[in-house]
Amino acid sequence: MTYLLHIFILIGIYIILSLSLNLIAGYTGILSMAHAAFYGIGAYIAALMALNFNSPFILNLFLAVIGSSILGALVGIPSLRIKDDYFIIATFAFQIIIFNILNNLVSFTGGPMGLPGIPQPVIFGIKISSHFSFLVLTAILCAITYFICNKIVKSPFGRILKAIREDEVFTKSLGKNVSAYKVKIFMISSGLAAISGVMYATYITYIDPTSFTLMESIFIISIVIIGGAGNLKGSIVGAVVLVMLPEILRFVGLPNSIAANIRQMLYGGLLVVFMLWRPQGFIGEYSFNRNNENG
């Protein structure tokens, strides 16, 4: 039972991550490889606040979201000048930089040893410590994230995001400040990613940089693409499928060392299969491999 709850909590964390990435990748059409970095930033800000200042969970969550969105602007701004593949490489670099900072700033982040003993959240006097209460909290945060994302994509603001994805030149010619929209959506997306970071840190009560690597970013992108880019429900489907799938391997009785490698192969294989035969994912509205000759 605990095991099932654990899986559900993980699914919740990944739903938040994929929903937020979907805003930039699926709706605005900018593929970013740095999502795990924002996930990590959120986790570290909350953990450091809680450990050093013993500050309340809600404040930590708030600061993590704000801090991560500010860094999101840092990644969003280059996206105004560099495009497509080059932007992916730039986010790649950002991801690696963040990982290296977390890994090498030993006095501050604990480096590879990580940060142990992160206090569990206390909200309005209620201590969240059981798996079940964590699941409830994750579900609430998932619902809030979904609500925010849904509001955004259904609004005229979201309509502009889709227009930017489809044809940036045309969108500019209609008088929309494309650059401002890109930076804004980057900030929102990275802020929301920080929520899952905070959840992860307080749930596991221990974080180290290896949870926020490039592989993690690729995993989140896989969820978005396989679930369906440009569709919020797709992100939920993607997170459920991709988190559950490797768990099945556990029951086949494979040793852990092999199962871990098979996981990676599975994700890679799935990505290739989807890109070839179902580029829009399970229920997506946008496929990255579509030829669009927009300037």
């Binding site: 603001f157 045309f170 500019k172 209609l174 929309k176 400040n177």
Partner: protein
């Protein structure tokens, strides 16, 4: 007549190719001006220069007494200049209705803060825009396509839609780049009719078109350009009979 757009001594070179060579012209309020010339004469470049997609090397462009030289395309649109593209740009994966809704100016719902707060006003304006958009579609007889993807329209309907987007933006000056090239005669008639009606609504048009009959039909004034220079200007009849124009086409 009142001046709307004033282009003074504009120059633009692309790696030695002269796209605009000391080009000057003026467009008045409520007039339709035809811009003609051979391929590569610099007509589309001129549109890109006016709308800010290409910055000029030298010269000055003013619109309604505002200098718009070297302003960003989105800012220039806000001054009241709207355009269509030669290659026909639309958001193809969006519905026809959404394409038009995207084109309206000053939408409070497009501001992030209004997505979450005060969105009553945003919703009101959105539904008002929707009414206006449906009316535009109804007036041009494609209201049954409102919820189809723009990609599913015929080529002629797509050209009509891009014109409707310009109308929705309520711009004072419309730059139309070959709005009737490659479409069927009935649709040509429909589009030309919309264009001829524009001056009555206080709008001016610059029209790039190779079809001389259509140009004579809708334009009072024609500018002929070649190799980035203005060669001739006058009524369609005058320009057609200008020896310099005939020479340019024979070259």
């Amino acid at each position: 007549m009142d001046n709307l757009l004033k282009i003074q001594n504009c120059n633009k070179h692309f790696n030695g190719i002269i796209a605009l060579d000391d080009f000057s012209c003026e467009i008045s309020k409520n007039e339709i001006v035809g811009l003609i010339g051979p391929n590569g004469a610099g007509k589309s470049t001129l549109f890109n220069v006016i709308t800010g997609f290409i910055s000029i090397d030298s010269g000055q462009i003013t619109f309604n007494n505002h200098t718009i030289t070297k302003k960003a395309p989105n800012k220039i649109n806000k001054f009241g200049i709207s355009r269509t593209f030669q290659g026909l740009r639309l958001i193809r994966q969006m519905t026809v209705l959404d394409n038009i809704l995207l084109s309206f100016k000053k939408q409070p719902g497009e501001h992030l803060e209004n997505v979450f707060f005060k969105n009553k006003k945003a919703k009101e304006i959105e539904s008002e825009n929707k009414r206006k958009a449906l009316k535009l579609l109804k007036d041009t007889g494609i209201e049954d396509k409102a919820n189809d993807l723009a990609d599913d329209l015929s080529y002629g309907q797509q050209k009509l839609l891009s014109l409707l987007c310009c109308l929705a933006s309520d711009a004072e000056l419309l730059l139309l780049d070959e709005p009737i090239a490659g479409i069927n005669p009935a649709m040509i008639e429909k589009i030309l009719f919309i264009i001829t009606e524009l001056p009555k609504k206080g709008k001016s048009v610059i029209l790039i078109e190779h079809n001389m009959d259509a140009v004579s039909q809708v334009c009072e004034r024609v500018i002929f350009m070649d190799t980035g220079k203005k060669i001739s200007e006058g009524t369609p009849e005058e320009v057609r009979n200008d020896p310099k124009v005939i020479e340019a086409y024979l070259e």
